[in-house]
Symmetry: C2
Subunit: 233 residues, 2 copies
DNA sequence: TGCGCCTCAGTGACATTGTCACCAACGACC
DNA sequence: GGTCGTTGGTGACAATGTCACTGAGGCGCA
C-alpha cells in the first residue's frame, strides 16, 4: 500500500494526485476538479506533531508521501501505537473525530517528512453531500479504521507478547530484514515495557532468529518468526 | 425482524421517534418525514444475535428501547465486550463497518428485548447526501465510537485489573448496588479470565466493599470503589 | 428423599508479563 | 581523557493468565 515511485512524477500535471487514491479515482470529473481546486498541498518535516491534545487539525489530510503515526498517550505516561497512515491513505477519521470530541489523548506524528493534500472541513462536507462515490470512500475509510481497532483490542487483550513482537519486527523490517529502532521504541509499538522487549529479543537472539546491535535489530531467520506468528496468531 | 407492531407504546403521532434522538431532532422537517416514511420498526427478543461473523445487517438501526452488546470473539475462544448501544443511540458504524469489511470477528447481541428503527442502507446514504444536519449526526456517532475505542485500547493495555473491575461493577450496578451476573460474564466484560475476577472479588469482599452470592454481587461500599477508580484511573 | 448432572465459584501451582531499582556499555561532545 | 545522555542488561518482586482440580448449589427426576 505504499506509493513509492510515481510521487515525483506527480508534481507535473499529467497525473493529478486524485488518481493516486484508489477510492477517489472513481469520482466524477467535476468532483475531482472541485477537490483539486479547493485543496492545497502541505509539507511537514519529520517529527511534527500534526494533531494532539489541544491541537486539533482544521483540515482533512490525504497523504501523498510519508507516514503518520497515531499513538495513544496514557495518563500513566505509557504509550501505544494505534495505527499508521501511509501514503495513499486518508486521515478522514482523525479530523472528524477530533472535531466532535475534544477530550482525547491520541496524537498524530509525522514519522517521516510528509507531503499531503489538505482539504478544508467545509469542502470535505460539501463533497460528502454531493458525491456518492466520495461518501463510499469516506465510509470505507471509517470502516477499515474501526475494524482495525477491533482487532487491535483483541490483540492487546489476548495475544502473547512474543507473537506480537514477532509481528512488529516482520512489519517494520526492510527487505534485508534490518530494523533501525530501539527497544524503547519497540515497547511503545506494543504498549509494553522496555524490559519486556529486551527479554523477548534476547530469547529470539538465543534461538538465532535475530541479531542485535545498538539501535538495530536484524532478522536472521524470517521463516522462524513467520512460523511463530502464524502458529499462534 | 419484521416491522409492523411496535405500535403499542410508540402510539400516536404526538412524539415521532425522531425527536428522541438528540442529533436528529435538529433535522429539517422534510428530512424527518423521509426518515419516518422509509423506515420500519423492528423488535427482537433478548439474546438475538443481530450481527456477527457471516451475518451482516442490511439495515442501520436506531435503538428506541433496550441495549445491544458488541463484543469481540477471539480465535483463542476468549471474548471481550467492546461497547454497548443504548436506547437513543445508533448503530451507524456497525453497519457501515460490516458493509465494507467482511472479515471481522465482532458480534452484536440484544442484551434485552430491543425495539429499534431500521433504516435501509439506501435511505441512509440518501440522507447523508441530502442533509448536513444528518451528516453531522452520523459523523458525531462515528467520532464518539472511535474515541471510545482509543480509550478502550488504553484501558486494556495499561489499566490495572482491580480498577477496571471496579469500574464495571459501578457501571453495571442498579440503584441498590445489586448486579445479577456471574464471574464468568464479568470476565468477558473485561477480557480476562474467570479466576482473575474471582480473586479480585474476594479481595473486594475481604475489604467489605462487596458481598457475593451465587450469580450475584452487591456493592456495600460504593464510595470505596469510586475512590479506587478515581485514584488510579 | 436421594441420585445424577450441570453451572458456578474456590484453590494452588506455575508461566507470563509488568514494575522497580540499579548498573554497564556505547557514542557524542567538550 | 572526562562527562553526560542514551541504550540495553539484570534480578527481585508483583500482577495477571493458565491449568487442573475440587466442591457447593440448583434442578430435574425416579
Amino acid at each position: 500500500m505504499r506509493g513509492g515511485c510515481g510521487v515525483r512524477a506527480m508534481t507535473g500535471r499529467e497525473t493529478p494526485w486524485v488518481e493516486r487514491f484508489p477510492g477517489l479515482s472513481r469520482l466524477a470529473q467535476e468532483t475531482k476538479d472541485l477537490l483539486l481546486s479547493k485543496s492545497s498541498i502541505v509539507e511537514v518535516p519529520s517529527g511534527t506533531v500534526i494533531f494532539g491534545p489541544g491541537k486539533s487539525p482544521e483540515n482533512m489530510l490525504f497523504l501523498l508521501e510519508g507516514t503518520v503515526r497515531v499513538q495513544q498517550v496514557s495518563d500513566t505516561g505509557r504509550e501505544i501505537v494505534l495505527y499508521r497512515i501511509h501514503s495513499g491513505e486518508s486521515c478522514v477519521l482523525t479530523t472528524a473525530c477530533l472535531l466532535a470530541y475534544e477530550d482525547y489523548a491520541a496524537e498524530g506524528i509525522a514519522e517521516t517528512a510528509v507531503r499531503a493534500v489538505a482539504v478544508p472541513r467545509k469542502v470535505f462536507d460539501d463533497l460528502v453531500g454531493q458525491s456518492k462515490a466520495f461518501r463510499d470512500f469516506v465510509f470505507a475509510a471509517f470502516s477499515k479504521r474501526i475494524t482495525d481497532l477491533f482487532l487491535m483490542v483483541d490483540e492487546v487483550a489476548f495475544q502473547r507478547m512474543d507473537v506480537r513482537l514477532g509481528q512488529r519486527l516482520l512489519a517494520l523490517a526492510d527487505a534485508a530484514g534490518a530494523i533501525a529502532t530501539t527497544h524503547q521504541k519497540l515497547s511503545i509499538e506494543l504498549g509494553t515495557a522496555r524490559e519486556v522487549v529486551s527479554r523477548q529479543l534476547q530469547e529470539f537472539q538465543r534461538r538465532g532468529w535475530v541479531q542485535q546491535s545498538r539501535g538495530k535489530v536484524r532478522i536472521c531467520d524470517r521463516r522462524a518468526l513467520e512460523n511463530l506468528v502464524e502458529h499462534h496468531g
